[in-house]
Subunit: 344 residues, 4 copies
């Protein structure tokens, strides 16, 4: 924790890596307006030297970032896969806390990591000690933590959508859980790739990584199994939507027994009763992207579509509850602030 | 058939009802460019008196349309549900053929109609005699027909997507077939309703009529059962996409036995080998809206996502193969022209 | 001013008329988050009974609104032209202050009103006493005012764009000032009109009210002349943009003498040096909608395009600095709060 | 001309360079459907080996293209600035005709080229002999030509918009002509640049190259002066629109004398009376992008906005009449076909 000797003494000093990417930009914006945070540096390989929106800073190169506890208390890592783990290790060695927005620290074992990423993890010890930063599941492990792996948009939106059914064990054991997901383009990052050219995306809708090939399948199944060991496999089809931000997971779950819409609605409302950032829509109203874009919450609607089949729509802003908002929520827990500070 | 005495003698004279709606506009455009058709009138209650794009005509009120065989050989009905059946009956009584783009004549029985539409059918006899105009299923019944019920965007795209598996009986009997569908806004019609205001749709994605409540569920299941009586029920969730035209059905089907991606790909390629308007994408390429928008075809991709679970993406332009293009295809069969005349 | 006897005593009690329209929605959102305001009612003819976003209220019918000083201190009027003046008069008679977002109180004389609106003004006395609520021009008249006419998106964006040249009298006297303006669709209101249907706007760009026929021409010229009586006439061409919010005025102004880009840039920077909500972009950077959407500010860039011809790009969010944000800025001045309270 | 010995003997053999870019793609599509053309090769550095849509070909590298008269009669060059002139020279040397869609051959003198492009022209002789391919101005020079420089979207749309006033000499001599232009993103090419990323363009509107800095200013002024030597300078401000295709030039012209709307409308209608690809809208209707997108024409509306000031809206599809459609129109003239063959 920072010392308490001056006007800014109540503020945690935060460094943001990868701050010019879309998730990084939103993280800086949220932190700049956060009463208990102060952004002390923001890195960008591509935009070094240019001003950082919402701050008085200029982007610096990652190698020039002052990784020492006299300057910074915690770093947010909005870095590409692979780079993130190395930076996390370096920061932790220097006595600086870490909130990682990448997928590098989310899997529990080196074996699982190798299965989904095709190579050995550079710092396998980190995998076992880093808690999965979905506060609605495990906020106790996040309070005061030194390092947190904040999950991204697809895992967060999917897991929040099925959590009540898994926890209450209403699911049909072993039956596949089908997730038809749709994401705004900012989820694909800011690098100017051919398929992200405006003309390619405009007026289009494209599935990709259909079935079980997307890397986040491993992570989502890992967390599903922790909640309910009898959960079936995940069938996951993401699509690229022609809009900038917003993510929808359309989920189809088989139940073991018939439950009416009323029961299911009540289960969800009770499960999320105390959650400030999860909003159950009233029965009959469907969740849409407009419910969540530019907010830090998740909205959910449920419909019993057949005797033992439930349809769930779960939505988030992929850059907020699906990235930077989630990271700030973790930050609040890490430093003992009100969990929604700077998020409402 | 028209008489053969003048320059236009090779052309069928067509009247289009509801010609200022989005499907009606596309029908007029296709017919105006069709070498074997001549549009002789186009009705519009709202735009009567204004010029009809792609023609030298002006819209007339439906009551002013000259429904007699000296003037017109066939009428296209792009009319609202309910109005269409009455106009069809009137035209047929006058000895004029009918291609109906509405849902009024698609269900096979008065009972089924009453179940889905909540009231008695005004002309129940028409239900039994009118063939379902999906040429890929039943083109023989369409050749020379007096009246055809051309199916719309959701049924066409869904049915073409699952047809090979149903026909080959590879499906798991009784297992639900899940269709997560997404449609461009023109599918909702041209009436200026609040939820179709630009600002409401822009940047949004909205599910509606989730599960088994959409009226087209009955029609799709009816046709599924005809192909394979052991097909399970349909779970159908449509979404409104923030774009003008294009429709995607993302379909999840349980198989009775394990079939690899190669086998499934081959089954689809063989089933659709002779079809000029259905395009199987090569294995590994996913169907997107760009494959079909502003064309009269359907594009399909298939992926084996688990041992006995297949994911299919089927796409059409909702106003073309999902409406007016389909109607013109039926028109070609009705009058004995090449099936793709005016459609490639 | 409200009494000071309870916890909410520091908060001004605000009623919002027309609160379900796009400007009204944004006004409620800004006021709900404003530390010195409390929304006590929100009216909507169309959505009466439904919940009001960002509050615990439900919409009430305008006739049910409690227009008395025990309940409400000030009303925001986001009402259609004509209705607004009548409500303003009623509120003022009851001793309640008024901030009017409509155009009803912006013209200075009954004659001018009749010229642009085609009928007599219902409360002509109000025209002479109501100050024009563009704080950057006349904040002194707004402090403590009983009623303010907050200007809308086109006048605000245009006037802020040309103000420095008019005030410094660098303009060529009598030369027309050309404004090619582009607005997001929310500026056209929430009523579901045919030309606002998603499909009509998507992929399109449409000019309307070309030249001198738009009603706001009179209002803009009135304010131009107040700043510089030698200003030429306004040539104004608005366009409908295929996006939800954001407004750009592209302005072409003839100067009396040659001024280089440096001089013009400096004139603008000096004129707006103390303005918290007007941002001059650095020389060479052009203003775009992304600079202002979802903010309460205006951004401006200037370019000397020929010896005596200047191009100015002025942008606002049409619902914020062009409507509700402006109204809240006026509210802050009216009640003596910091001018940017609730706006940064 | 091709020999006449086989079934394809009536078809001109066409090679397309740069065929995977947006203009190149449209050129291939138009030529593939053109009854008098046969595409014999299509080059692409980036996509070599992949199939060419609308044909049975695969892209080849430009160096592998068979530039000899036994194989190809004419080449379309949809190549980047600089590369195009070299390829044109090579093709002409080999006895193959050339239609150039780049700006390389459009300026009349090496001096002018150097002024706007900053370096010497590689084949200056070509500048003097190559006609400017805007058929509405100079179709006689295009009939049977060996090489044509087809103008692009901004020059075409602007020049067609002001041509009648220049030709009739109604303009105020020396007064600047102001063009506020807006273009869809495909006009910026297919290379994945950061500012063309979907997220950057979505919901935005951006001016660029404001005033007199855009390279096409020189070309437009050159052609303006040919029509009317007393035309004033061009003030030109392009903007990037958040849509894929479509271009609008909003033009403000000072007249020497007062002309009413009727007169101006009539002048335009008479000037374009015989033009198959220029459509004058009826008085009172404004030109919008929907009038022209996916067509090969230009639509124009005119409004007298003050006594001696005219506003013109001129629109094209930037990839059609602004690129490939124009090139095909030139091709038809070059080979003596009907001018609109393959374009209606």
């Amino acid at each position: 924790m920072p010392s308490m000797s001056d006007q800014d003494s109540h503020q945690v000093r935060v460094g943001v890596y990868g701050a010019s990417g879309y998730a990084g930009q939103d993280a800086v914006e949220l932190l700049a307006k956060h009463p208990r945070a102060r952004v002390v540096f923001a890195t960008s390989s591509t935009y070094a030297g240019q001003p950082v929106p919402f701050t008085d800073l200029h982007y610096i190169r990652p190698d020039d970032a002052p990784l020492n506890p006299d300057t910074v208390d915690v770093v947010f890592l909005a870095l590409p896969h692979g780079v993130s783990a190395r930076t996390a290790a370096k920061a932790l060695d220097a006595g600086i806390r870490v909130i990682d927005l990448s997928a590098d620290l989310r899997l529990d074992t080196p074996e699982s990591y190798k299965q989904w990423y095709g190579h050995d993890h550079p710092h396998p010890a980190l995998l076992q000690t880093t808690p999965y930063g979905l506060p609605e599941f495990s906020r106790e492990r996040l309070r005061g933590a030194q390092v947190i792996a904040a999950p991204g948009c697809y895992p967060t939106t999917t897991l929040l959508g099925i959590y009540p059914l898994l926890k209450a064990d209403w699911i049909q054991h072993g039956a596949p859980i089908i997730v038809d997901a749709k994401s705004g383009v900012s989820g694909a990052g800011r690098d100017p790739k051919p398929h992200l050219h405006f003309v390619e995306v405009y007026g289009n809708l494209s599935p990709y990584s259909v079935g079980r090939s997307h890397r986040h399948v491993g992570e989502i199944e890992q967390e599903m199994k922790k909640i309910n060991a009898d959960a079936g496999m995940l069938i996951f089809t993401p699509h690229l939507l022609p809009l900038d931000r917003g993510l929808m997971a359309s989920i189809y779950v088989h139940l073991a027994e018939d439950h009416g819409s009323e029961d299911i609605q009540m289960l969800y409302e009770e499960t999320y009763a105390g959650e400030p950032l999860v909003r159950m829509l009233p029965k009959g109203e469907q969740a849409t992207l407009k419910h969540v874009v530019k907010t830090n919450g998740c909205a959910i609607s449920v419909t019993a579509v057949a005797e033992t089949l439930v349809h769930i729509t779960s939505v988030t802003d992929n850059l907020r509850k699906g990235a930077s908002g989630q990271a700030v929520q973790c930050f609040n827990l890490m430093f003992g602030f009100a969990e929604t500070e700077g998020l409402l």
